[in-house]
Subunit: 149 residues, 2 copies
DNA sequence: CCAGCCGATGAGAACGGGTATCATTATCGC
DNA sequence: GCGATAATGATACCCGTTCTCATCGGCTGG
C-alpha cells in the first residue's frame, strides 16, 4: 500500500466517501473495532464505548457494522450462539477461522493452509460461485479439558 | 446393526429410556424429522405437523429437538441466518456440510474427504478437544449465478 | 382394571439479539 | 453563519427461542 494507513483510517475514509458525511459514533466504533484482531459482538463494542464515557447508541453500532460489511471491510462471524460477531477484514494473510470452547465460551483463532486449499478446491469444483466460507471447531479448550480433580 | 431399525425408532427408544415416558408430540416430531436427509428448522417441522392436523405445540418441537441434541441424535446446523436447523445424525458415512445460496436461500449438502482430513488433522494438532465442526460455504447457486441478461 | 403419580404437552408470556422509526443533532457545501 | 440532509440515539418493534404453568395422559402398583 502506498499510504501506511491503518485499517480504521481506510474504513473511515471508505464510509465517508459513500455518504459524504462523517460522524462521531461511526468513528468511535471503527477505531475500537480496529484494535481487535479477532471477532467482537455489537454489544461488546457498545458496552466498551459506553464504559469509556461515549454516548453512542446501539443502533449506530449496528449501522456502522452494516456499512462496513456492505463494503467488505469486516468479516461477519457466526459461532452458532445466535450472536453476530465482526472482525476487521485485513486481507488473505490474516484470514483465519475460529475454535469455540463449549464450556467457557472462549474463542481462539486458527489458520491452516491445507484447510484453505481443500475449501478452495471444493469451491472450484462445485456448481456454485462461492465467495465466502465459515469454519467453526467446537469442543473443550485447554483449560476446560483438564480433569476436574 | 443387529436390528434393522430406522433412525426414528432408535431416537424414540433412546428418548423414552431417559424419562420412562413417551408422548404423541415427541413421536410426531421424531418421525417427521427422520424423513429428512438435510437440515430443517423447528418452525418448518411445526408448520408441517400442524398442516397435517397435528396439535403439537412449538414448545414440544423445541423440547424434542433439545433432547435429541443432548443425546447426539441430531446435528445442530447454523447457516448464519439466525435460525437453528437440525438433521438426523446418522453417522460418519452421512456426514456432510452445507452450501447456502445468498440470493435464493437454497441449501445444498456436500461432502469432501480432503476437507474432513484437513479438519481431522487440525483438531489433533490443536490444544483443544474438538468434538464438532461446522463448515458453511456461501455464494450464488447455479440458478442465481446466471447472468441477468 | 383402576387410581394416582408424575413426566409430557400446549398455550401463551417472557426474553434477547437485531432492526425500524423518528425526532433531534451535527456535518458539509455554500 | 445558513440551509439541506445525513448521522445519531432513544425506543418501539420483530421474531426465533425459552420459560411458565395448568392440564393431559402414559405408566405402575394395587
Amino acid at each position: 500500500m502506498v499510504h501506511a494507513e491503518t485499517w480504521a483510517e481506510l474504513a473511515l475514509e471508505r464510509l465517508r466517501r459513500e455518504s459524504g458525511r462523517s460522524g462521531t459514533a461511526r468513528r468511535e466504533v471503527v477505531e475500537l473495532l480496529g484494535r481487535h484482531d479477532c471477532c467482537v459482538s455489537a454489544l461488546e463494542l457498545h458496552d466498551a464505548l459506553r464504559a469509556r464515557g461515549s454516548r453512542v447508541g446501539i443502533a449506530s453500532v449496528y449501522r456502522t457494522l452494516e456499512g462496513l460489511d456492505r463494503s467488505g471491510l469486516v468479516e461477519r462471524v457466526d459461532l452458532g450462539d445466535g450472536i453476530a460477531r465482526f472482525e476487521p477484514a485485513r486481507g488473505d494473510e490474516h484470514h483465519h477461522h475460529h475454535f469455540l470452547c463449549d464450556d467457557c465460551g472462549k474463542v481462539e483463532p486458527f489458520a491452516d493452509p491445507a484447510l484453505e486449499a481443500a475449501l478452495e478446491r471444493l469451491a472450484g469444483g462445485s456448481g456454485f460461485a462461492v465467495d465466502a466460507h465459515d469454519v467453526v471447531l467446537r469442543g473443550a479448550c485447554g483449560d476446560c479439558r483438564a480433569p476436574v480433580t
